[in-house]
Protein backbone atom coordinates (compact mmCIF):
# COMPACT_ATOMS: atom_id res chain seq x y z
CA UNK A 1 0.00 0.00 0.00
CA UNK A 2 1.32 3.46 -0.87
CA UNK A 3 0.91 5.61 2.21
CA UNK A 4 1.61 9.32 2.60
CA UNK A 5 1.79 11.21 5.90
CA UNK A 6 1.56 15.00 5.60
CA UNK A 7 3.33 16.84 8.38
CA UNK A 8 3.71 20.55 9.07
CA UNK A 9 6.38 22.36 11.00
CA UNK A 10 4.75 24.70 13.51
CA UNK A 11 5.89 26.74 16.53
CA UNK A 12 5.90 24.64 19.72
CA UNK A 13 2.69 24.89 21.75
CA UNK A 14 4.49 26.54 24.67
CA UNK A 15 6.26 29.12 22.49
CA UNK A 16 5.53 32.74 23.30
CA UNK A 17 4.87 34.55 20.03
CA UNK A 18 4.93 38.25 19.35
CA UNK A 19 3.74 40.46 16.53
CA UNK A 20 6.17 42.52 14.42
CA UNK A 21 6.07 46.31 14.98
CA UNK A 22 4.16 46.88 11.72
CA UNK A 23 1.38 44.64 13.07
CA UNK A 24 1.43 42.45 9.95
CA UNK A 25 3.64 39.51 10.82
CA UNK A 26 4.98 37.31 13.59
CA UNK A 27 8.47 37.58 15.02
CA UNK A 28 10.04 34.31 13.90
CA UNK A 29 13.64 34.82 15.02
CA UNK A 30 14.45 32.19 17.60
CA UNK A 31 10.98 30.65 17.49
CA UNK A 32 11.17 26.96 18.54
CA UNK A 33 9.45 24.51 16.18
CA UNK A 34 7.92 21.06 16.28
CA UNK A 35 5.91 18.78 14.03
CA UNK A 36 2.28 19.66 14.67
CA UNK A 37 0.80 17.55 17.49
CA UNK A 38 -1.82 15.83 15.32
CA UNK A 39 0.66 15.17 12.51
CA UNK A 40 2.64 12.98 14.91
CA UNK A 41 -0.55 10.92 15.23
CA UNK A 42 -0.94 10.90 11.43
CA UNK A 43 2.63 9.68 10.98
CA UNK A 44 2.18 6.97 13.63
CA UNK A 45 -1.01 5.78 11.91
CA UNK A 46 0.80 5.69 8.57
CA UNK A 47 3.60 3.56 10.05
CA UNK A 48 1.12 1.23 11.80
CA UNK A 49 -0.81 0.86 8.53
CA UNK A 50 2.39 -0.13 6.75
CA UNK A 51 3.23 -2.59 9.54
CA UNK A 52 -0.22 -4.18 9.21
CA UNK A 53 -0.75 -4.12 5.46
CA UNK A 54 2.71 -3.69 3.96
CA UNK A 55 3.85 -0.92 1.64
CA UNK A 56 5.80 2.27 1.96
CA UNK A 57 5.38 5.50 3.96
CA UNK A 58 6.29 8.80 2.35
CA UNK A 59 6.52 11.84 4.61
CA UNK A 60 5.34 14.95 2.78
CA UNK A 61 5.77 18.50 3.99
CA UNK A 62 5.45 21.96 2.54
CA UNK A 63 7.94 23.95 4.52
CA UNK A 64 11.27 25.70 4.75
CA UNK A 65 14.41 24.12 3.37
CA UNK A 66 15.89 24.59 6.83
CA UNK A 67 13.21 22.41 8.40
CA UNK A 68 14.79 19.10 7.55
CA UNK A 69 15.62 18.31 11.22
CA UNK A 70 11.97 17.73 12.04
CA UNK A 71 11.49 15.75 8.81
CA UNK A 72 14.46 13.49 9.65
CA UNK A 73 12.75 12.79 12.96
CA UNK A 74 9.71 11.57 11.05
CA UNK A 75 11.98 9.17 9.14
CA UNK A 76 13.46 8.01 12.45
CA UNK A 77 9.92 7.20 13.61
CA UNK A 78 9.26 4.91 10.66
CA UNK A 79 8.81 6.95 7.48
CA UNK A 80 10.64 5.37 4.51
CA UNK A 81 11.33 8.52 2.52
CA UNK A 82 10.50 12.18 2.60
CA UNK A 83 9.63 14.93 0.17
CA UNK A 84 9.90 18.55 1.25
CA UNK A 85 8.19 21.08 -0.98
CA UNK A 86 10.28 24.09 -0.14
CA UNK A 87 8.38 27.23 0.72
CA UNK A 88 9.85 29.80 3.08
CA UNK A 89 6.40 31.38 3.34
CA UNK A 90 4.83 28.08 4.43
CA UNK A 91 3.45 29.53 7.63
CA UNK A 92 1.43 32.22 5.86
CA UNK A 93 0.37 30.06 2.91
CA UNK A 94 -3.43 29.77 3.07
CA UNK A 95 -5.25 26.45 3.31
CA UNK A 96 -6.20 26.38 -0.37
CA UNK A 97 -2.73 27.12 -1.72
CA UNK A 98 -1.20 24.61 0.71
CA UNK A 99 -3.72 21.95 -0.27
CA UNK A 100 -3.11 22.50 -3.99
CA UNK A 101 0.66 22.20 -3.64
CA UNK A 102 0.24 18.95 -1.66
CA UNK A 103 -2.30 17.63 -4.18
CA UNK A 104 0.15 18.04 -7.08
CA UNK A 105 2.79 16.01 -5.22
CA UNK A 106 0.31 13.35 -4.04
CA UNK A 107 -0.80 12.90 -7.65
CA UNK A 108 2.82 12.65 -8.79
CA UNK A 109 3.66 10.06 -6.07
CA UNK A 110 0.43 8.11 -6.28
CA UNK A 111 -1.11 6.89 -3.02
CA UNK A 112 -3.82 4.65 -1.62
CA UNK A 113 -4.17 6.54 1.61
CA UNK A 114 -3.00 9.91 2.90
CA UNK A 115 -2.88 10.63 6.64
CA UNK A 116 -2.99 14.20 7.90
CA UNK A 117 -3.58 15.89 11.22
CA UNK A 118 -7.08 17.12 11.93
CA UNK A 119 -5.61 20.60 12.42
CA UNK A 120 -2.19 22.20 12.33
CA UNK A 121 -1.63 23.99 15.63
CA UNK A 122 -0.38 27.22 14.06
CA UNK A 123 -3.14 28.66 11.90
CA UNK A 124 -5.79 26.31 13.31
CA UNK A 125 -7.37 25.99 9.88
CA UNK A 126 -8.50 22.35 10.11
CA UNK A 127 -9.03 22.61 6.35
CA UNK A 128 -6.15 21.17 4.36
CA UNK A 129 -7.16 17.49 4.72
CA UNK A 130 -10.73 17.71 3.38
CA UNK A 131 -9.58 20.23 0.74
CA UNK A 132 -6.89 17.85 -0.55
CA UNK A 133 -9.46 15.03 -0.71
CA UNK A 134 -11.98 17.19 -2.54
CA UNK A 135 -9.45 18.37 -5.13
CA UNK A 136 -8.38 14.74 -5.65
CA UNK A 137 -11.97 13.49 -5.75
CA UNK A 138 -11.18 11.03 -2.95
CA UNK A 139 -13.04 9.97 0.16
CA UNK A 140 -12.22 11.81 3.37
CA UNK A 141 -12.91 11.19 7.03
CA UNK A 142 -11.88 13.80 9.58
CA UNK A 143 -10.88 13.83 13.25
CA UNK A 144 -10.81 10.03 13.35
CA UNK A 145 -10.41 8.41 16.78
CA UNK A 146 -10.64 4.75 15.72
CA UNK A 147 -9.85 3.19 12.37
CA UNK A 148 -10.05 -0.12 10.54
CA UNK A 149 -8.45 -0.18 7.14
CA UNK A 150 -8.46 -2.94 4.54
CA UNK A 151 -8.06 -3.33 0.80
CA UNK A 152 -10.47 -0.99 -0.94
CA UNK A 153 -11.91 0.78 2.07
CA UNK A 154 -12.35 1.16 5.77
CA UNK A 155 -14.41 2.12 8.77
CA UNK A 156 -13.73 5.11 10.98
CA UNK A 157 -15.15 6.38 14.24
CA UNK A 158 -15.53 10.08 14.83
CA UNK A 159 -16.71 12.01 17.89
CA UNK A 160 -19.37 14.59 17.06
CA UNK A 161 -21.91 16.65 18.99
CA UNK A 162 -24.45 13.95 18.09
CA UNK A 163 -22.37 11.16 19.59
CA UNK A 164 -19.85 8.63 18.34
CA UNK A 165 -20.38 8.21 14.58
CA UNK A 166 -19.28 5.28 12.47
CA UNK A 167 -18.39 6.08 8.86
CA UNK A 168 -17.66 3.77 5.97
CA UNK A 169 -15.41 4.98 3.21
CA UNK A 170 -13.72 3.78 0.04
CA UNK A 171 -10.03 4.01 -0.90
CA UNK A 172 -8.18 6.06 -1.99
CA UNK A 173 -8.86 8.30 0.97
CA UNK A 174 -7.56 11.16 3.06
CA UNK A 175 -7.83 10.44 6.78
CA UNK A 176 -7.33 13.22 9.31
CA UNK A 177 -6.30 12.04 12.74
CA UNK A 178 -7.77 13.02 16.09
CA UNK A 179 -6.39 12.62 19.56
CA UNK A 180 -6.68 9.12 20.95
CA UNK A 181 -6.30 7.29 17.63
CA UNK A 182 -2.88 6.02 18.70
CA UNK A 183 0.09 6.80 20.92
CA UNK A 184 2.91 8.14 18.73
CA UNK A 185 6.18 6.29 19.28
CA UNK A 186 9.50 7.84 20.18
CA UNK A 187 12.40 7.56 17.79
CA UNK A 188 14.84 4.88 19.01
CA UNK A 189 18.56 4.98 18.42
CA UNK A 190 18.23 2.41 15.63
CA UNK A 191 15.59 4.55 13.96
CA UNK A 192 17.73 7.66 14.22
CA UNK A 193 20.70 5.89 12.66
CA UNK A 194 18.58 4.40 9.88
CA UNK A 195 16.98 7.77 9.16
CA UNK A 196 20.32 9.25 8.15
CA UNK A 197 20.41 7.01 5.09
CA UNK A 198 16.78 7.40 4.06
CA UNK A 199 16.05 9.57 1.01
CA UNK A 200 14.93 13.13 1.69
CA UNK A 201 14.16 15.00 -1.48
CA UNK A 202 13.61 18.73 -1.78
CA UNK A 203 11.44 20.08 -4.57
CA UNK A 204 10.26 23.51 -5.59
CA UNK A 205 6.47 23.45 -5.78
CA UNK A 206 4.24 25.60 -7.90
CA UNK A 207 2.39 27.85 -5.51
CA UNK A 208 -0.81 29.76 -5.99
CA UNK A 209 -1.41 33.13 -4.41
CA UNK A 210 -3.20 33.38 -1.08
CA UNK A 211 -6.84 34.41 -1.05
CA UNK A 212 -6.38 36.53 2.05
CA UNK A 213 -4.43 39.58 3.12
CA UNK A 214 -3.41 40.33 6.66
CA UNK A 215 -5.11 43.54 7.79
CA UNK A 216 -3.59 43.37 11.25
CA UNK A 217 -2.22 40.97 13.84
CA UNK A 218 -2.43 41.61 17.54
CA UNK A 219 -1.94 39.86 20.84
CA UNK A 220 -5.24 38.79 22.41
CA UNK A 221 -6.96 41.69 24.17
CA UNK A 222 -6.01 41.63 27.84
CA UNK A 223 -8.76 40.39 30.10
CA UNK A 224 -10.28 42.78 32.57
CA UNK A 225 -8.35 42.71 35.85
CA UNK A 226 -9.87 40.01 38.04
CA UNK A 227 -10.00 39.75 41.80
CA UNK A 228 -9.88 37.17 44.54
CA UNK A 229 -13.02 36.41 46.50
CA UNK A 230 -12.81 35.17 50.06
CA UNK A 231 -15.55 32.56 50.06
CA UNK A 232 -18.41 30.94 48.15
CA UNK A 233 -20.95 33.57 49.27
CA UNK A 234 -18.87 36.36 47.83
CA UNK A 235 -18.40 34.36 44.62
CA UNK A 236 -22.14 33.74 44.25
CA UNK A 237 -22.84 37.41 44.87
CA UNK A 238 -20.29 38.44 42.20
CA UNK A 239 -21.68 35.96 39.66
CA UNK A 240 -25.25 37.13 40.26
CA UNK A 241 -24.88 40.86 40.65
CA UNK A 242 -21.67 41.83 38.84
CA UNK A 243 -21.19 39.30 36.07
CA UNK A 244 -24.91 38.50 35.88
CA UNK A 245 -24.33 34.97 34.72
CA UNK A 246 -26.33 33.26 37.44
Amino acid sequence: MQIIACVKRVPTTDAAVSVTPDGKGLVTDGLPYMISFYDEIALEQAVQTKEALGGEVTVLSLGPASGSKEIRECLAKGGDKAVVLTDDEWMTRDARATAKALVAEIEAQGADVVFMGKVATDRDNASVGPMVATYLGWACVTDVVALELGEGGGTAKVETEAGLETLEFSLPAVITTGKGLNEPRYAGLKGIMAAKKKPLEEKTPELEANQAMVASLAPPPPRKEGRLVSDVNELIDALRNEAQVL
Binding site: T121, D124, T134, P220
Partner: protein
Amino acid sequence: MTTLVVFIEHTGGSARRSSLEALGAAQAAGATCIAVLTGPGADGVAGNIPAAKAVILTGGEAYSPDQVAAGVAEVVRAQGAGGFLAAASSLGRDLAPRVAAHLDATLFSDCTAITTEGDELRVTRSWLAGKVIATLTPTGEFFCATTRLNVFPAAEGSCTEVGEHPLGGEARVRVTAIEAAGEAKLDVAEAPVVVAGGRGLGSPEGFQIVEALADAFGNAAVGASRAVVDAGWRPHSEQVGQTGKVVSPQLYIAIGISGAIQHLAGMRTSGTIVAINKDPDAPIFKVADYGLVADAFEVVPQLTEAVRAIKSQS
Protein backbone atom coordinates in the same frame (compact mmCIF):
# COMPACT_ATOMS: atom_id res chain seq x y z
CA MET B 1 -22.50 42.70 0.86
CA THR B 2 -23.73 39.92 -1.26
CA THR B 3 -25.75 36.82 -0.75
CA LEU B 4 -24.31 34.08 1.43
CA VAL B 5 -25.42 30.47 1.63
CA VAL B 6 -25.53 29.25 5.23
CA PHE B 7 -25.63 25.56 6.12
CA ILE B 8 -28.19 24.83 8.84
CA GLU B 9 -27.87 21.77 11.07
CA HIS B 10 -31.00 20.63 12.81
CA THR B 11 -31.96 18.15 15.45
CA GLY B 12 -35.28 17.14 16.98
CA GLY B 13 -37.29 19.39 14.66
CA SER B 14 -35.39 22.62 15.15
CA ALA B 15 -32.27 24.32 13.88
CA ARG B 16 -29.15 24.02 16.01
CA ARG B 17 -28.32 27.19 17.83
CA SER B 18 -24.77 27.18 16.45
CA SER B 19 -26.18 27.28 12.90
CA LEU B 20 -28.48 30.17 13.77
CA GLU B 21 -25.39 31.94 15.09
CA ALA B 22 -23.67 31.46 11.71
CA LEU B 23 -26.78 32.92 10.08
CA GLY B 24 -26.73 35.78 12.58
CA ALA B 25 -23.08 36.48 11.75
CA ALA B 26 -23.84 36.66 8.02
CA GLN B 27 -26.84 38.93 8.54
CA ALA B 28 -24.97 41.24 10.90
CA ALA B 29 -22.33 41.62 8.18
CA GLY B 30 -25.10 42.82 5.88
CA ALA B 31 -25.55 39.69 3.76
CA THR B 32 -28.79 38.36 2.37
CA CYS B 33 -28.89 34.73 3.48
CA ILE B 34 -30.03 31.54 1.84
CA ALA B 35 -30.29 28.61 4.22
CA VAL B 36 -29.42 25.10 3.03
CA LEU B 37 -30.37 22.04 5.00
CA THR B 38 -30.60 18.35 4.46
CA GLY B 39 -31.58 15.07 6.05
CA PRO B 40 -34.74 13.66 7.58
CA GLY B 41 -36.98 16.36 9.01
CA ALA B 42 -35.43 19.18 6.95
CA ASP B 43 -38.80 20.14 5.43
CA GLY B 44 -40.31 20.59 8.88
CA VAL B 45 -37.50 22.92 9.91
CA ALA B 46 -37.01 24.93 6.70
CA GLY B 47 -39.91 27.38 7.13
CA ASN B 48 -38.77 28.34 10.63
CA ILE B 49 -35.34 29.52 9.57
CA PRO B 50 -34.78 33.27 9.57
CA ALA B 51 -33.34 33.47 6.05
CA ALA B 52 -34.47 35.02 2.78
CA LYS B 53 -34.93 31.55 1.36
CA ALA B 54 -34.32 27.94 2.34
CA VAL B 55 -33.09 25.22 -0.01
CA ILE B 56 -33.44 21.57 0.99
CA LEU B 57 -30.89 19.16 -0.42
CA THR B 58 -32.90 16.06 -1.28
CA GLY B 59 -32.24 12.50 -2.29
CA GLY B 60 -29.15 11.44 -0.37
CA GLU B 61 -29.68 8.31 1.69
CA ALA B 62 -27.37 8.26 4.72
CA TYR B 63 -25.54 11.54 5.40
CA SER B 64 -22.56 11.71 3.09
CA PRO B 65 -20.29 14.74 3.51
CA ASP B 66 -18.94 14.57 -0.04
CA GLN B 67 -22.42 14.51 -1.60
CA VAL B 68 -23.69 17.28 0.66
CA ALA B 69 -20.58 19.44 0.07
CA ALA B 70 -20.98 19.13 -3.70
CA GLY B 71 -24.68 19.97 -3.33
CA VAL B 72 -24.02 23.06 -1.22
CA ALA B 73 -21.41 24.33 -3.70
CA GLU B 74 -23.94 23.84 -6.51
CA VAL B 75 -26.48 25.91 -4.56
CA VAL B 76 -23.89 28.68 -4.06
CA ARG B 77 -23.30 28.84 -7.81
CA ALA B 78 -26.95 28.39 -8.80
CA GLN B 79 -28.06 31.21 -6.49
CA GLY B 80 -25.25 33.50 -7.61
CA ALA B 81 -24.10 33.74 -3.99
CA GLY B 82 -20.81 35.28 -2.94
CA GLY B 83 -19.92 32.53 -0.53
CA PHE B 84 -20.75 30.03 2.15
CA LEU B 85 -20.93 29.92 5.92
CA ALA B 86 -21.40 27.18 8.51
CA ALA B 87 -20.94 26.82 12.24
CA ALA B 88 -17.54 25.50 13.34
CA SER B 89 -19.29 22.47 14.84
CA SER B 90 -17.90 19.00 14.18
CA LEU B 91 -20.14 18.64 11.14
CA GLY B 92 -19.38 22.18 9.94
CA ARG B 93 -15.64 21.76 10.34
CA ASP B 94 -15.81 18.57 8.27
CA LEU B 95 -18.10 19.99 5.58
CA ALA B 96 -16.90 23.56 5.03
CA PRO B 97 -13.41 22.89 3.63
CA ARG B 98 -14.93 20.50 1.11
CA VAL B 99 -17.44 23.13 -0.03
CA ALA B 100 -14.62 25.69 -0.24
CA ALA B 101 -12.52 23.35 -2.40
CA HIS B 102 -15.47 22.78 -4.74
CA LEU B 103 -15.59 26.56 -5.15
CA ASP B 104 -11.77 26.70 -5.42
CA ALA B 105 -11.84 29.07 -2.45
CA THR B 106 -9.88 29.16 0.76
CA LEU B 107 -11.66 28.84 4.11
CA PHE B 108 -11.64 31.17 7.09
CA SER B 109 -12.16 28.74 9.97
CA ASP B 110 -13.63 29.39 13.37
CA CYS B 111 -14.11 33.14 12.88
CA THR B 112 -14.88 35.28 15.91
CA ALA B 113 -15.92 38.39 13.97
CA ILE B 114 -17.10 39.13 10.43
CA THR B 115 -17.51 42.80 9.59
CA THR B 116 -17.54 45.10 6.59
CA GLU B 117 -15.26 48.08 6.27
CA GLY B 118 -16.60 50.13 3.37
CA ASP B 119 -16.95 47.52 0.63
CA GLU B 120 -14.38 45.25 2.17
CA LEU B 121 -15.02 42.21 4.29
CA ARG B 122 -12.93 41.72 7.41
CA VAL B 123 -12.74 38.50 9.37
CA THR B 124 -11.16 37.93 12.74
CA ARG B 125 -9.82 34.58 13.79
CA SER B 126 -7.28 33.28 16.20
CA TRP B 127 -3.91 31.81 15.32
CA LEU B 128 -1.82 29.58 17.58
CA ALA B 129 -4.96 28.85 19.60
CA GLY B 130 -5.54 32.45 20.54
CA LYS B 131 -2.00 33.65 21.16
CA VAL B 132 -2.44 35.92 18.14
CA ILE B 133 -5.62 37.53 16.87
CA ALA B 134 -5.57 37.92 13.10
CA THR B 135 -7.79 40.30 11.17
CA LEU B 136 -7.81 39.29 7.53
CA THR B 137 -9.23 40.63 4.29
CA PRO B 138 -10.56 37.88 2.02
CA THR B 139 -9.50 38.42 -1.59
CA GLY B 140 -10.91 35.36 -3.36
CA GLU B 141 -13.92 35.16 -5.66
CA PHE B 142 -15.94 33.29 -3.03
CA PHE B 143 -15.92 33.94 0.71
CA CYS B 144 -16.15 30.75 2.79
CA ALA B 145 -16.04 30.69 6.57
CA THR B 146 -17.07 28.88 9.70
CA THR B 147 -18.12 30.71 12.87
CA ARG B 148 -16.95 29.90 16.38
CA LEU B 149 -19.72 28.59 18.61
CA ASN B 150 -21.21 30.85 21.29
CA VAL B 151 -19.73 34.04 19.82
CA PHE B 152 -22.37 35.46 17.46
CA PRO B 153 -25.98 36.29 18.39
CA ALA B 154 -28.42 33.80 16.89
CA ALA B 155 -30.66 35.03 14.05
CA GLU B 156 -34.39 35.15 14.73
CA GLY B 157 -37.47 35.05 12.51
CA SER B 158 -38.78 32.78 9.78
CA CYS B 159 -38.64 32.39 6.04
CA THR B 160 -41.29 32.25 3.35
CA GLU B 161 -39.69 30.60 0.35
CA VAL B 162 -38.58 26.98 0.42
CA GLY B 163 -36.93 25.30 -2.57
CA GLU B 164 -35.17 22.02 -3.29
CA HIS B 165 -31.93 20.87 -4.85
CA PRO B 166 -31.27 17.18 -5.59
CA LEU B 167 -28.09 15.57 -4.30
CA GLY B 168 -26.09 13.57 -6.81
CA GLY B 169 -22.64 12.18 -7.30
CA GLU B 170 -20.91 9.34 -5.58
CA ALA B 171 -21.04 8.90 -1.80
CA ARG B 172 -17.49 7.86 -0.98
CA VAL B 173 -18.18 8.33 2.72
CA ARG B 174 -21.37 7.52 4.59
CA VAL B 175 -22.41 7.68 8.20
CA THR B 176 -23.59 4.17 9.02
CA ALA B 177 -24.23 4.43 12.77
CA ILE B 178 -24.42 6.95 15.56
CA GLU B 179 -24.05 5.99 19.19
CA ALA B 180 -25.96 8.87 20.67
CA ALA B 181 -24.26 10.85 23.37
CA GLY B 182 -25.98 10.57 26.74
CA GLU B 183 -29.42 12.13 26.82
CA ALA B 184 -29.39 15.93 26.85
CA LYS B 185 -25.63 15.88 27.21
CA LEU B 186 -24.23 19.19 26.04
CA ASP B 187 -20.96 19.30 24.14
CA VAL B 188 -18.27 21.29 25.90
CA ALA B 189 -17.89 23.60 22.88
CA GLU B 190 -21.63 24.30 22.73
CA ALA B 191 -22.59 24.70 26.37
CA PRO B 192 -23.23 28.18 27.80
CA VAL B 193 -21.59 27.10 31.06
CA VAL B 194 -18.50 24.88 31.35
CA VAL B 195 -17.33 23.38 34.63
CA ALA B 196 -13.81 22.08 34.01
CA GLY B 197 -11.62 19.99 36.24
CA GLY B 198 -7.91 19.20 36.33
CA ARG B 199 -5.37 17.07 38.09
CA GLY B 200 -6.13 18.88 41.34
CA LEU B 201 -9.19 16.64 41.66
CA GLY B 202 -6.84 13.79 42.46
CA SER B 203 -8.71 10.89 40.84
CA PRO B 204 -11.54 10.05 38.44
CA GLU B 205 -13.85 9.89 41.49
CA GLY B 206 -12.81 13.43 42.37
CA PHE B 207 -14.74 14.55 39.28
CA GLN B 208 -18.02 13.78 41.05
CA ILE B 209 -17.93 17.27 42.56
CA VAL B 210 -17.41 18.74 39.07
CA GLU B 211 -20.30 16.73 37.64
CA ALA B 212 -22.57 17.71 40.52
CA LEU B 213 -21.85 21.40 39.96
CA ALA B 214 -22.49 21.06 36.20
CA ASP B 215 -25.75 19.29 37.05
CA ALA B 216 -26.82 22.08 39.36
CA PHE B 217 -26.48 24.62 36.53
CA GLY B 218 -28.60 22.49 34.24
CA ASN B 219 -27.07 24.05 31.10
CA ALA B 220 -23.45 23.14 31.78
CA ALA B 221 -20.99 20.71 30.24
CA VAL B 222 -17.99 19.14 31.96
CA GLY B 223 -14.57 20.09 30.60
CA ALA B 224 -11.13 18.71 31.41
CA SER B 225 -7.45 19.56 31.22
CA ARG B 226 -5.17 17.45 29.10
CA ALA B 227 -3.49 16.02 32.18
CA VAL B 228 -6.67 14.25 33.24
CA VAL B 229 -7.58 13.19 29.71
CA ASP B 230 -4.15 11.64 29.23
CA ALA B 231 -4.51 9.91 32.60
CA GLY B 232 -7.73 8.35 31.31
CA TRP B 233 -9.93 10.00 33.94
CA ARG B 234 -12.04 11.80 31.34
CA PRO B 235 -12.82 11.25 27.62
CA HIS B 236 -10.95 13.15 24.87
CA SER B 237 -14.14 14.86 23.84
CA GLU B 238 -14.04 16.95 27.04
CA GLN B 239 -10.49 18.28 26.67
CA VAL B 240 -10.21 22.06 26.54
CA GLY B 241 -7.13 23.69 25.07
CA GLN B 242 -4.78 24.00 22.15
CA THR B 243 -4.98 20.29 21.40
CA GLY B 244 -8.55 19.93 22.61
CA LYS B 245 -11.56 22.15 22.07
CA VAL B 246 -11.57 25.91 22.05
CA VAL B 247 -14.55 27.05 24.08
CA SER B 248 -16.19 30.40 24.68
CA PRO B 249 -19.02 29.88 27.17
CA GLN B 250 -20.66 32.70 29.15
CA LEU B 251 -19.21 31.17 32.30
CA TYR B 252 -16.11 28.96 32.65
CA ILE B 253 -15.28 27.50 36.04
CA ALA B 254 -11.79 25.96 36.30
CA ILE B 255 -11.35 23.67 39.28
CA GLY B 256 -7.94 22.25 40.20
CA ILE B 257 -6.47 23.40 36.86
CA SER B 258 -3.10 25.16 36.95
CA GLY B 259 -3.64 27.18 33.76
CA ALA B 260 -0.85 26.03 31.42
CA ILE B 261 -0.47 28.14 28.27
CA GLN B 262 -2.04 25.35 26.16
CA HIS B 263 -5.08 25.26 28.45
CA LEU B 264 -5.51 29.04 28.54
CA ALA B 265 -5.46 29.03 24.74
CA GLY B 266 -8.67 27.02 24.77
CA MET B 267 -10.73 29.08 27.19
CA ARG B 268 -9.44 32.62 27.53
CA THR B 269 -12.20 34.11 25.38
CA SER B 270 -14.90 32.86 27.77
CA GLY B 271 -17.28 35.50 29.12
CA THR B 272 -16.65 35.18 32.85
CA ILE B 273 -13.88 32.96 34.21
CA VAL B 274 -13.86 31.58 37.74
CA ALA B 275 -10.80 29.76 39.07
CA ILE B 276 -10.76 27.56 42.14
CA ASN B 277 -7.28 26.42 43.08
CA LYS B 278 -5.44 25.95 46.34
CA ASP B 279 -2.23 27.48 44.97
CA PRO B 280 -2.49 31.30 44.98
CA ASP B 281 0.32 31.46 42.39
CA ALA B 282 -1.42 29.22 39.82
CA PRO B 283 -1.32 30.96 36.40
CA ILE B 284 -5.06 30.34 35.94
CA PHE B 285 -5.68 33.28 38.31
CA LYS B 286 -4.11 35.63 35.73
CA VAL B 287 -7.08 35.15 33.37
CA ALA B 288 -9.77 34.67 36.03
CA ASP B 289 -12.38 37.34 36.75
CA TYR B 290 -12.99 35.75 40.14
CA GLY B 291 -10.46 33.60 41.92
CA LEU B 292 -11.06 31.52 45.01
CA VAL B 293 -7.95 30.17 46.71
CA ALA B 294 -9.30 27.09 48.42
CA ASP B 295 -9.46 23.32 48.52
CA ALA B 296 -11.90 22.28 45.80
CA PHE B 297 -13.37 19.50 47.93
CA GLU B 298 -14.37 22.04 50.53
CA VAL B 299 -15.81 24.85 48.42
CA VAL B 300 -17.20 23.16 45.29
CA PRO B 301 -19.96 21.27 47.18
CA GLN B 302 -20.92 24.58 48.85
CA LEU B 303 -21.02 26.27 45.46
CA THR B 304 -23.17 23.43 44.11
CA GLU B 305 -25.67 23.85 46.94
CA ALA B 306 -25.86 27.60 46.39
CA VAL B 307 -26.32 27.26 42.61
CA ARG B 308 -28.97 24.59 43.11
CA ALA B 309 -30.86 26.82 45.54
CA ILE B 310 -30.79 29.75 43.08
CA LYS B 311 -31.87 27.61 40.13
CA SER B 312 -34.77 26.12 42.07
CA GLN B 313 -36.08 29.62 42.81
CA SER B 314 -36.06 30.79 39.19
